[in-house]
Structure formats: C-alpha cells, structure tokens
Symmetry: C2
Subunit: 345 residues, 2 copies
DNA sequence: CTGAAAGCGCTTACAG
DNA sequence: CTGAAAGCGCTTACAG
C-alpha cells in the first residue's frame, strides 16, 4: 500500500495520523460524507457508510477531539464538581458517573471544591471556558455568581445528592432531612430519649440532617439544643472519637448518638470500645451513608444507606438526555434511602 | 462602549465569546502579537503586553482550549491511569497530581483500569487519541501493547508508585520489596517466628511485598510457604477478617500476620477483637500504607507509611518538566517509606 | 520585536 | 442522499 508522501508544503505540521480527508479519499467520497458516515448521521447511503467505515478502520482513523470541538462548538467533556475526594461517598458517586458517561463517549473532568464557594466559582469559570457538553455539581447550595455562570452558560446541568424543588433545576438525590428524621425516629422507637447529634464539616447536607434530627426530637418532645454538637472541622474517625469523649464528659446522661457521617461514627464506636462504654447498652450509636467498614465494626453500625452509585448513574443518564436535547420526564428524581439496622442501636 | 455588531455573515456561528481577534483589535495589535503577549512568550514589547492584557481582561477573554489544541497539536490534558478508586491510596495520589497540575494550567483526565491490562490498553488508546500533553500511569507492569502505545505516542510519561530501573523510563515511587522486608524484619526483631503474609488483590506491588517478606524470612531461616496466603479477591475489611480467621484455624501457631494492605489489616484487627485473639500478645498484626483509621484501631496498627502525596506531587512535577522539554536530573526518584510502630506489634 | 499568511482537522449551513 | 465552500479560534513557520 505504498502511496507517495504528500508534498511537504501541503502538510507542514501534520501529526502523521490519518485524517478525515485520508479516510474520505480512501473511500472515494467527500470529507463531509465521511464525517456523516462515521458519526452515524442519517441520510447516508448504507453502501457508502460501509466503505467509509472500512477505510477508517483500515487506516486506524481516530477523530481529533480538538478539531471536532472547535468546529462544532461543543466538546465531549463533562465537568463534575464534588466537594472532597477524601469522602468515599463522593468517590463512589464519581465512579458511577464516569462509568455511565465513558461508554457514551464523554470524558469526565473532575473538580474538587473543598466545600469552598470561591473554589467552586473558580472551577466553574475555568471548566465552562472549555465549553463542556454537560455539568454535574454537588448539592443545591452555591454562590449567586456560580448560579449565574451555570445559567448563562447554557450548558445542561444536573445537581447531585439532593432533590431539587425549583423548576428548571435538574437533580437526582434524596431528602437528607427525611433520612435523618427516619434514623432519629428509629432511636426514639428503641426507647432512647437523650439523643445527641454529633457533626463535623457542617456542609449543607450535614445541616439538613441536623434539621431532620431536630424535627424528630421536637415531635417527640425531647429536643435539647445542648445535645447538638456542631464542629466545623473536617470529619475523620479521630474526630468522632474526640467528640464522643467530650460529649460523654459533659452530658453523662446521653443515651444515643447520631453521627452525621459513618467515618465519625466508626471513630466513635472505637472510642467507646477504648473507653469501655457499652454500645448499645449504655449508648446507641448510629451513622449516616453506610460507608465501607461500618458492617465490620464492633458492634456493627446502624446507619442510613444512601444510594450514591444509583445517584451517579441516574444523574449521568439524565445529563446524557439533556445533552442530546431530549426532554426529561422528571426534572428531579428522589432515590430515597434505606435504614440499615445493625447491632449498635 | 457601543460597538456595532459585526455583519452576520462574518460571524455566523460565533459563540458570543470574546476572541483573540477581538482582544487584538481592542489593543491595536495583530492577533499573533496578542497571542504571544497572553502566553507570556518572550520578544514582545512590555508596553504592548500591558495593553493586550488590559484588553483581554476588559473583554473577559478566555482562550479556547480546543482551538489552541488544534493549532498547536498539543492539548492541556494529562491522562492519569490508576487501578482503582476504591483504594484510598490511589485517590490521594490522584489528588496530589491534580493539585500540582491544575495551577500549571493542565487538566487531569482520570482513567480507572481495575487492574485489567485490557482496560488499561483501551484507556490508553482512547486517551492518546486526545493527544494529551502528558501521561501518568501506575506501576511498571503492563501489556506489550500498552508499552508500545506509550513509546510510539511520543507523549511524556511518568510511572507512579515504583522505582524504574530501565533507562528512558521515568518513575517516582518506592521499593515495595524493601518496605515489606523492613516491616517483616521488625516482626522478627520483636521475636516473632511464625509470621504469615496475608494478601488480596495480588497486583504487582502486592506480589513485590510478598517477595520482600520472603527475603526477610529466608534470611532469618524461618520461611514457611504454608504461611503465605494469597487470595485474588479484591481487598476489604471483611476479607481481612475472614482470611485471619481461616489462617488461625489452619495454623494456630502463627504468632504474627503481615497484611498486604491496611484495609485488610484493619479488618483483621476487628476480627481478632471479635474472636478474642489478643493483639499483640498472641499475634502481632501489621499492615501496609498507613491508611485513614489505622491509628484509631484497637490496638493502633503498626504499618508502613508510603508517601503517596509526595509521589503524586513529584511525579507531576517531573512530568511538568518533561512536557516543557526540560531534561530531568534523575529519571527515577525513590521517595522511600517509613515504618510506623504502633501497639499492634 | 511584529505581522500577513497558512493551516490545524473537523462540522455547519447552504445548495443541488 | 451528497458535496464545495467557509469557518471554528487559535499558533506555526516564515519574513521583515
């Protein structure tokens, strides 16, 4: 298959890779027909499609994403903004998103906001400059600037983890308030009355859970603001242990602790073991999210299982539909949660 | 600042965003001068640079990455291939890489191989089609096809986690063999003789650790192949617990267990607690990597701390140098490890 | 130090 | 159903 190299002047900076023109020439059609055939656009003679595809695979043709993005003014990138990578929840979310988007031909661009609105704004600005085909952001709370950027960009956007109420806002998630109310009611049903809520990080969802906790306790008539421990530090097992120890020192009558997240709860459980505080006899301990290891604790941890993989998958599917310009049946999908009762409560 | 809209015919598919030409016009220079001024290229009159920058920021100009990639045949993407997202080690690596690359203007494209050579090959093929400016891959083991793809692509590539020996191969990591030998010797020094190695996943680094374990025990004359438990399942706390229980049932005389990873070791520690096997009195337990929570265990876990954040940072810096075409002093950097002795041994 | 021309590899919009 | 032309927004390579 020797073909004379093109005169140097004609491909000064060529990369050596087969180009759409090469494919078209080999198939004996015009570049635009080759383009249409390869993209599976309608209105191309099946015979030509076959010829073009054969030529493409024979030449090992791979379309250049940059050229495609420039010509069509739309890239195959989807930007995903998550608060943290150190919380396994978001990693699982990201993994599900990527697993759904990749087979559809989209590249996931991950951005970490560290729960800082300013970082989110900066990331949004920078990612939007790349004209992503779609956008996935975590939660509904963000700066006005961020909201404007998203709205004005015209880029389809789906919100993760919470359920949207505003029309025109797309979201897939669950009601953090309901889930927190549910697990608090579980503690009440078990006869607990001095129930503490111990939280770190204090991001919007952690505060929503505090709200659910409050609702349940107020309804039962045993809400005590003193038992609400809201610590802004990042969560960790160590923090969970410290907060539990402090809490028990200040309020020895506490009979249950609802940790805002499983990492805190796991640390609390280990601290209880260390301090010889019997769980669930003296205090019940519950967490949130059902992270890895919670089922291995001593005793195994009662918690709320959140469907983050399903959230990631369905949000990505919703985004895929929006990017194709399809109408979406429901703009907000509530995937619920599951109370997982183990031996710690 | 009313300027008449350009005739429609001139910007048929314009995106509405300011373009380099707009900036150049506003600054009263040519497009190429504006381009050079904005990229900080040498050989531009400082006065013009200032004018161009003023015009750019006034117009809110953001360069189009697709156009830039197409014209220069090089994107601002760096592809990073890691085996798994469910191992916190790789997440931390990725985070460090991204934190180093982002300020330098590079986008990180993450790919997960699931330890499958075929998946790695496919990802490499697809990422390389995007002409990334650089490539970061985990470990040194891969298929011949993958090796060829990387070599022929001409894209600078740095290998993570291990130390490269082949000339022309760049890498930042540590000697897994040495680290495993070190922690095994620690157990020997503590007087342990029936030391088991319990591993899951069985990726190349886990097998290198097995090698270090063997070397130490053979040198001490107490290597027993029966005490090498190599399970191909993915690692988890639950698996660590099961493997420990099985091991103790089959070999009640085991006096120490070296788990190939901290998640397994944490599960082993919790199982020991459940089974009332005294640690470290009856068996010493050690892990590898020093993951989150290991210091919170009961007893706290002795382990090897691997410098994954530093590995990510330095590998990214090395790649940055290679992408700039700079020579790199050392093609392979050994960042070592640290034996962290806690109460489990 | 600065610029006019050409080109990167695709797709859009318009004809036929 | 197919194609010739123009253009996306930059940068390269060449002059001056």
């Amino acid at each position: 298959m020797d073909s004379p190299p093109p005169p140097p002047s004609l491909r000064r900076r060529a990369t050596g890779r087969a180009t759409l023109n090469d494919v078209a020439a080999a198939a004996g059609v015009s570049a635009i027909t080759a383009s249409r055939a390869l993209r599976g656009a309608r209105a191309v003679d099946p015979a030509l499609v076959a010829r073009v595809q054969a030529a493409a695979s024979q030449l090992g043709y791979v379309p250049d994403p940059a050229a495609r993005a420039l010509a069509s003014a739309r890239s195959a990138h989807v930007a995903v903004l998550i608060p943290l990578l150190s919380n396994a929840l978001f990693v699982e979310l990201l993994e599900a998103v990527q697993a759904t988007l990749a087979p559809a031909g989209y590249q996931t661009l991950m951005g970490v906001t560290h729960y800082q609105p300013a970082e989110e704004d900066a990331l949004l600005r920078s990612y939007l400059a790349h004209r992503p085909a779609g956008l996935l952001v975590t939660g509904l709370d963000r700066s006005d600037a961020a909201r404007q950027l998203i709205a004005h960009s015209g880029v389809p956007c789906v919100h993760l983890m919470e359920t949207a109420v505003t029309p025109g806002i797309y979201g897939v998630g669950l009601s953090q308030v309901d889930a927190a109310r549910c697990i608090t009611e579980h503690l009440l049903q078990r006869g607990r009355r001095r129930i503490a809520y111990v939280a770190g990080q204090l991001d919007p969802r952690v505060l929503q859970r505090a709200e659910g906790y409050r609702q349940a306790l107020q309804a039962a008539g045993c809400y005590d603001p003193q038992l609400e421990v809201l610590d802004p530090s990042p969560t960790s097992m160590a923090l969970g242990g410290h907060l539990l120890q402090d809490l028990l020192a200040r309020h020895p009558d506490v009979d249950a602790v609802f940790f805002c997240n499983d990492d805190l709860a796991q640390g609390g459980l280990l601290a209880a073991l260390r301090l010889q505080v019997a769980v669930p006899q003296r205090i019940a301990v519950v967490g949130f999210n059902d992270l890895a290891g919670s089922d291995q604790m001593l005793p195994p941890l009662t918690t709320i299982r959140t469907p983050r993989a399903a959230i990631g998958t369905q949000a990505a599917q919703m985004l895929l539909a929006l990017m194709r310009g399809e109408a979406v049946a429901q703009s907000s999908i509530d995937l619920g949660f599951e109370l997982v009762v183990r031996q710690s409560s």
